[in-house]
């Protein structure tokens, strides 16, 4: 369903400070690009904000996107910015309805690069069923930004059967991971300066709202908690959950879905896949007696084809995540200390 849009005819091929000035240049840029590609009734009013009513309960979330490089195998900063906020809302059990979209552009950014980002925002919005209804564009001097930063905020409607809160988590609940670990982080790492290795690994960035909706339709309050393990990886997210719920978590290394190439890249770079960022994954903590049905349903969804039960909630060792290693040893999985840095020999 990917939209292919040719770059509109413009009198300029790079972004200059004038494009953020509020004057004629900015109007030309916005009218021919942003306002045209995202066309909808609310945006077309070109007001300072969008006015609408939505039946509650509602969820509201915001996130900023500064990924470098802005384009990578499987996506770019644009779809990341839509999927990220759509997914944050989905983790609250909500379907994203409206997004705001704010750009900070660096002077000198090529217009065709900007256009590629806009097209991928459009496609991601179409896929997740969300509308861009308000926005902002600023331009900073060359060297004061890094091509393009994006902020998106979103409002979504919470599923009527959703009862998602860590207070519902209890011993015996199953922990389901929706797919294979660490693809996004490794994709970005493989492009960073000086790290030339070739793989077919692509970002896993995808909208999860429809998948979550299917789960909530099917199991309602049996789905007790949802969280997407983005920055800090699975390890950090599990620690957050075990800390908030004051419960222990047991996971089994043998059960973690991991792509062979990703695992190989992690070995080479000295990274632990448990700490590498994901963009299209979620953890669902579900009632013990429905775990197999949840898994079965997930397996019918493209975003859950590799879903697996990776462990269980326990009342032993509250606040701690314990991993049973492949060879049967046990160890604590702690928060990521600082940035994940590679080993030196």
């Amino acid at each position: 369903m990917n939209l292919q849009c040719p770059l509109p005819k413009l009198d300029f091929d790079i972004i200059t400070l004038g494009h953020g000035s509020g004057g004629l240049l900015m109007h030309e840029l916005l009218n021919k690009t942003v306002l045209d590609i995202f066309k909808n009734d609310l945006l077309d009013q070109q007001h300072d904000g969008a006015s609408f009513s939505l039946p509650g309960p509602l969820a509201f979330s915001t996130d900023s996107y500064v990924v470098s490089p802005i384009s990578f195998p499987g996506g770019n900063i644009g779809d990341l910015a839509v999927n990220g906020t759509v997914n944050d809302l989905a983790m609250c059990g909500a379907q994203a309805k409206y997004l705001s979209l704010a750009f900070i552009l660096e002077e000198g950014l090529k217009v065709d690069e900007f256009w590629d980002v806009l097209v991928s925002i459009k496609n991601a919005a179409l896929k997740s069923g969300v509308q861009i209804v308000t926005g902002d564009t600023k331009v900073v001097e060359r060297g004061k930004g890094d091509k393009i930063f994006i902020n998106t905020s979103g409002i979504g409607q919470v599923h009527p059967s959703a009862r998602i809160h860590h207070r519902y988590i209890e011993p015996g609940d199953a922990i389901i991971l929706s797919g294979k670990l660490a693809a996004h982080g490794i994709t970005i790492m493989s492009l960073r300066e000086g790290l030339q290795f070739e793989t077919d690994i692509e970002t896993d960035s995808v909208n999860l709202n429809h998948t979550v909706n299917i789960l909530l339709d099917g199991f309602g309050e049996g789905i007790k908690f949802l969280r997407d393990p983005t920055r800090g990886g699975l390890a950090s997210t599990l620690n957050e959950i075990s800390g908030a719920a004051k419960m222990g978590i047991d996971i089994d290394q043998n059960l973690l879905p991991l792509d062979e190439q990703v695992e190989g890249a992690c070995e080479m770079l000295g990274l632990d896949p448990l700490y590498v960022a994901n963009e299209g994954l979620f953890i669902a903590i579900v009632k013990k007696d429905i775990k197999d049905e949840v898994l079965q349903l997930l397996h019918t969804d493209p975003n859950g084809a590799h879903a697996a039960i990776i462990g269980y909630i326990t009342d032993e060792h509250p606040g701690k995540v314990i991993l049973k290693s492949r060879i049967g040893g046990k160890r604590v999985v702690s928060y990521l200390p600082g940035e994940q840095l590679p080993r030196i020999c």
């Binding site: 070995e267 701690k320 060879i327 160890r331 604590v332 590679p342 080993r343 030196i344």
Partner: protein
Amino acid sequence: MKYLSEYRAPEQVAALLKQIHAETTRQWTLMEICGGQTHSLVKNGLLEMLPDKITMVHGPGCPVCVTPVSVIDEAIWLASQPGVILCSFGDMLRVPGSKISLLEVKARGGDVRMVYSPLEAVELAKNNPDKQVVFFAVGFETTAPANALSVVHASKQNIQNYSILASHVLVPPAMEAILSDPENRIDAFLAAGHVCTIMGMNEYDPIAEKYRIPIVVTGFEPVDLLQGILFAIRQLEKGEYRVENQYTRYVQRAGNLLAQETLKDVFDISDRMWRGIGNIPNSGFEVKDIYRIYNAREKFDIDIPLAEENAACISGDIMKGLKKPFQCPNFGTACKPEHPLGAPMVSSEGACAAYYQYYGEELTAK
């Protein structure tokens, strides 16, 4: 993953553990030299699976951990100079110098770059002829050849704005320093497989002979480590002491001769300060005089006062195997990965970091 999964196979691990349990009749203390081995032991939960009679102590083989504060201060001074790009492996960036770390220099405007290979730093020098590029060359015999090669490459291409700040250390002198310590209680060594891939095994024979101690050259995966332990226990139980090779898939008796030649071309053997341990004679590499222009210490007039080590960090006792991380009063309290008092809590190969990360703050480790 082929060539890896077979060394992590649960059946093999179980069989080796069974043998180790059956053949161990007395109390033995083994030291694994390399921090990579320490991490693998802890990360895979192997320490808990060994017989109570076997105590593993963790050796000095963590290049970041043994780099003295004064050398980190030199790197920080260089990174703070205008027109200098300082390149380093990632681990080194968070290690505290006497005042700040390289990451903090970067945050304050210093041009500090993380690289995976010294050859990237040479490339950077080539592409930035108006800058001085300095590579912070730390590491044992494993990393030294690549760092030496970067000097050879720069020289061949006549790239004059490249230099290295060398802080290379050597394993055998450190083993002798540990064995000569009156408090030493180590019965056998697991030597570092990667180091021996380069240097071979010959230099370990005199140590095994002189100190009557088994030395088993060992790899890094669970099956490697358990096999290394089994070989060492067998020697100990029989009262033997010799150099044995577990890591036969990489290590040859003579080592990598080409790499050794490169080392000889670029480096002289020199005395070296080890963080927490002190000066060990002939335990490091320094850039040879003929490559003077590639030696950052010759190129720059580094002007810093000699720094004191943080007295609250017992890294010396940790790296000599005299104390375990949790025997340090500051472990997990004043000293954590996010605010380390010393390098063993920072490096991915540091024993304290391994214990903190994989055991948490609870001190249940053997």
